[in-house]
Point group: C2
DNA sequence: ATAATAGTGTCTCTTAGACAGTATTTG
DNA sequence: CAAATACTGTCTAAGAGACACTATTAT
């Protein structure tokens, strides 16, 4: 009878065909009340000219989340931002070159942080509990998307909407300090409809997640709003 | 310049090392108010003697969900049950034999349907929004689990709890017709605490998801409860 | 009748939406 | 002062927990 160590010593993994494993990252931001997604125009086959999510293959000894962070750094030029796994897409035929299983992720960044990649407004044709693919638009035209990336984007928006009510995701989309109005605009951009102001304020202030800074925004032509900070874990 | 068809013709995927991709299925059921999970005792290295989730490798041309359904059929003897993707676990070193990335799934079956696999009560040491690994117990002893399957089980319970409030998952754990008491017991088993009876009844009856059958349970020593049916999509 | 559970009526508390009001800034 | 927006007070409606009550069955 072999010990476990002996077993591992003599173990032969075999040479059956294995799929490639990739990560794709749905990098989202909200600017001026509009939900946007980072996309890259493909300049190579397949799907040349279509728009894709930043992605890359997972190294044989690389953790999946680490691969997603690497993609974020290399293709979007950002680090240390909100990043979580979304869903794994792996239908045979989703990439015409070979079998590729991709672990999709969602990343959230404040407006204006992305410099090395372009972002486009996200448009969603469904509401509430439904789901489906989502589009990215430019000048009123919807952009053609590569592979199944429109489906991935749709799942990302749906997940984001679901998390909004019980998770502090919106803070990842805002700068260090922000006004309640800006926070509300982020919520409205994600869920796709307007919210009641007094109710929104009550709710977020009662959550205990916000700390007033005492500072005010530099006013435009009106009364300046107080700046708040997100109360990180306590 | 190559056309896309020509490009694909000459494309060489290369021979870089690829991870193996597997599916694991957390098959859960609720019997007599107790949440249980199907586990298989390993009779081979590695982790011989420990308990694992039913799982298997994804074929090179096999859809991921299809692989999970195949595992359900072959290892648990059930088909056509609730099954959805949970999370992808892929840390290097999670399997000592080789790099294995596993797409974990959750399946739900009514009590008494599983015959070819044993189930064990699930015990969770955390509450509410937290998370963490979960244990399976037998005769008061917690079972040693293989690989990272305790973590996977923990994520499955957390996800199940989260879905409970806005998704009709509980019906997948009940037979065709059931009493409101049985439905409430399923909810209590999943969320881990007792619920208020009148409030629970009001909520589920108002949801429009339930249709009274007019039938009654065959009574034990008391007033028999009415049997309801889940109103499938309308 | 008694035991045991099914099912309901009602009170209260919390929370959200609606709406109108007051406060504070620039010009 | 006017304009514009920040912020708040209050009313109302919906929903949940708590508790006690009535209803129906078997023994």
């Amino acid at each position: 009878m072999l010990s476990e160590a002996e077993f591992l010593q003599q173990y032969d993994p075999g040479d059956f065909e294995r799929p490639s494993v990739a990560v794709d990252v749905v990098v989202m931001t909200v600017c001026e009340g509009v939900l946007q997604v980072a996309l890259i125009r493909r300049d190579q086959h397949p799907h040349m000219g279509r728009y894709m999510l930043p992605g890359g293959f997972v190294g044989i000894d690389e953790d999946i989340l680490a691969a997603a962070n690497r993609v974020l750094r290399d293709k979007a030029g950002v680090s240390n931002i909100f990043l979580e796994q979304l869903y794994t897409f792996g239908g045979p035929g989703r990439d015409p070159r070979m079998r590729v299983i991709t672990v999709a992720h969602v990343a959230l960044v404040p407006c204006g942080v992305l410099e090395t990649v372009a972002t486009y407004p996200v448009q969603v044709d469904w509401d509430g509990e439904d789901g489906g693919p989502a589009m990215a638009v430019q000048d009123g035209e919807s952009l053609p998307m590569a592979f199944d990336h429109a489906d991935i984007l749709g799942v990302a928006v749906k997940r984001l909407r679901g998390r909004l009510s019980y998770s502090p995701v919106a803070y990842s989309l805002l700068p260090e300090t922000f006004t309640l109005r800006a926070l509300q605009e982020v919520h409205e951009a994600i869920c796709g409809h307007r919210l009641n102001k007094p109710s929104f304020r009550r709710r977020v202030l009662a959550s205990g997640e916000l700390v007033p800074t005492g500072e005010r925004e530099e006013s435009r032509a009106h009364r300046p709003a107080e700046l708040y900070r997100f109360a990180l874990g306590d």
